[in-house]
């Protein structure tokens, strides 16, 4: 009997495949259903935000960086404003820090909700998407209440916040926080105890802790492999050291472990948000008192000459930032988010560089999926939680 001749097959997955979260192209070399090699191709969403930012004034960069990782807008702007404030040497009032913590945690919840919805849907639990998006809608409403913009609020500004909290903010946040823990139980009932989901995710896409570190995957991916590194605990910023929360970890390093870590993170985020909303008074300081950066209140602009001049200067020329460089990381929903800024002492940044967690996650994708089955690729992409806007910038 003649020997059966086999050959590998090259399959192009994406860039328009619905499970690639935007436009990621994977060139897979298959031997039957086993992946022999994978080559990711990125850049379809590259918009040159970092170059554009060099043409803008410091404050004008905030809406730009929010459009990088579009599911975690306020995580981007938080690390940007913290970097600029580090160079300026500004210290924020306690209330501003608490509001930033609260909104950053709500942003993490919003991002994780999109993740859990799409990840579960791609594996086959289609109804999860509707449950998750329904809860995220409430968070979008809170954004709208605060800033008038649902996706990219640009509420964090260099020097504080854009304005004070609106009326009804505490009620909206408390209503969400009261409702949400039961919804997490519901999600877990649908997924953690779902035999199909568990079989699709357990022992799939395993990455060891050493590999995760070597490939720069600090964040939920590394925490699913046993690391306890969380920027909020290791390098606390904007007052996280005063909050009581745990860093959830798992040791298996598979898709199911990353899923459990993120679900547990949602519960911790609710805990942090509850502490923050109790500390925040309905009205109070919403910016630092540095008049170089923060425009004077409107009633003074209309009545006082100096305030009018200051207002005009800030909105026409902006402010200058001392020569130097700063990198302040925050714990974004996808891992360590950081902005490296370089100033030449003028009113425009010399260089703005985002440290994108999704970029590193896609780089390590071949490492995780090679040798596995083609059906697991979708589960692994989902569990790495990549956002192509963050990756391509």
């Amino acid at each position: 009997m003649a020997e059966l001749r086999t050959e590998t097959m090259t399959v192009n997955m994406g860039p328009q495949h619905p499970s690639t979260h935007g436009v990621l192209r994977l060139i897979l070399e298959l031997d039957g259903e086993t992946i022999q090699s994978a080559r990711p191709t990125i850049g379809y969403l590259h918009t040159g935000i970092e170059k554009t930012a060099e043409q803008k004034k410091w404050q004008q960069v905030v809406p730009l960086v929010e459009r990088m990782d579009y599911l975690a807008a306020q995580s981007n702007s938080l690390c940007y404003v913290l970097s600029v404030e580090k160079l300026l040497g500004l210290e924020m009032p306690q209330r501003v820090k608490d509001i930033r913590v609260l909104l950053a945690e709500l942003q993490r919840l919003a991002s994780h909700l999109v993740w859990i919805g799409t990840h579960a849907m791609e594996i086959g639990a289609v109804s999860m998407l509707f449950y998750a998006i329904r809860e995220r809608e409430l968070l979008m409403n809170i954004n709208e209440l605060v800033a008038g913009f649902r996706f990219f609020p640009s509420y964090f500004r260099v020097g504080g916040l854009r304005e004070d909290l609106p009326r009804g903010f505490h009620e909206a946040v408390n209503a969400f926080l009261d409702r949400f823990p039961a919804k997490i139980d519901e999600f877990e009932g649908l997924l953690t105890k779902n035999d199909m989901f568990v079989r699709r995710t357990r022992d799939v896409g395993v990455i060891s802790q050493e590999d995760a570190m070597a490939w720069g995957l600090v964040g939920p991916i590394a925490r699913g492999s046993g690391s306890d590194y969380d920027v909020r605990k290791y390098f606390p910023y904007t007052g996280y050291e005063t909050y009581d929360f745990k860093v959830p970890t798992a040791t298996e390093g598979d898709v199911f472990a990353r899923y459990r870590v993120r679900v547990a993170e949602m519960r911790e985020s609710v805990k942090i948000a509850r502490q923050a909303i109790q500390r925040i008074t309905p009205t109070g300081a919403w910016a630092c008192n540095d008049t170089r950066v923060v425009p004077p209140p409107k009633d003074k602009v209309y009545t006082e000459m100096e305030a009018l001049i200051q207002h005009f200067l800030i909105y026409s020329q902006g402010f200058t930032v001392p020569v130097g460089e700063a990198y302040v990381p925050v714990e974004g929903p996808r891992g360590e988010h950081g902005v490296y800024i370089v100033s030449d002492g003028t009113n425009r940044p010399w260089r703005v560089k985002m440290r994108p967690p999704s970029f590193m996650a896609i780089q390590a994708l071949p490492r995780i999926i090679e040798g596995g089955m083609i059906a697991d690729v979708i589960a692994v992409i989902g569990s790495n939680d990549v956002v192509m806007g963050d990756c391509d910038r």
Binding site: G43, E50, K51, W215, L217, Y234, E336, F359, R393
Partner: protein, 183 residues
């Protein structure tokens, strides 16, 4: 740990390297000569008192018109010691001495960030296994993050020529394909 104490640990480990501490507002920053980058990174990762096990990112800054023009910046993280470090390598224009050794052998995650730096700044990483365009199309001209690259330019949309095969060529292709399959 501040920059001078890290330099004190590094100097006996890497022969002949002249380090230089740089001022910074956030964490330790060290200038490293390009020729000593690789042994320095190995020492930073493997020395028990340093243990910088994570390379967070590689990026570059173009300080036109200063010479040497570029600085390649590495952000390192030591999780066991809760320590951050910024390495800087000064690089001149490509024509003069625009190469830096790749650190892929120390941290495999350096592959894409270095490709991005080449894509955006045109800095060559010597020994890199796959130094191609990453974010930009493969036929892009120039390196857009350089300061002398114009901000708003118009570029003709790249189109691909339609496949033109005559009937005879098409039949010959089919025939060749069939023969290959029968073999």
């Amino acid at each position: 740990m501040d920059a001078p104490s890290i330099i004190d640990i590094l100097t006996p480990l890497v022969a002949g390297a002249a380090y230089e501490a740089a001022p910074s507002v956030d964490f330790a920053t060290i200038h490293v000569p390009a020729g000593h980058l690789l042994p320095t990174c190995q020492a930073l990762r493997d020395t028990p008192s340093l243990r910088f096990n994570v390379l967070l990112e590689v990026t570059a800054v173009d300080y036109l018109p200063r010479e040497p023009r570029f600085e390649v910046v590495y952000h390192l993280l030591s999780i066991p010691l809760r320590q951050r470090l910024r390495l800087k390598v000064r690089v001149g224009s490509l024509e003069v001495d625009g190469t830096v050794p790749t650190v892929q052998s120390v941290w495999p995650g350096a592959g894409w960030p270095e490709r991005e730096v080449w894509d955006m700044f045109g800095i060559v990483f010597a020994g890199h296994e796959d130094l191609r365009r990453l974010l930009l199309p493969e036929d892009w001209e120039g390196h857009p993050a350089r300061k002398d690259y114009p901000v708003q330019i118009r570029k003709a949309t790249q189109t691909y020529e339609p496949l033109e095969v005559t009937e005879e060529e098409f039949k010959a292709n089919l025939q060749r394909d069939r023969q290959r399959r029968q073999q």
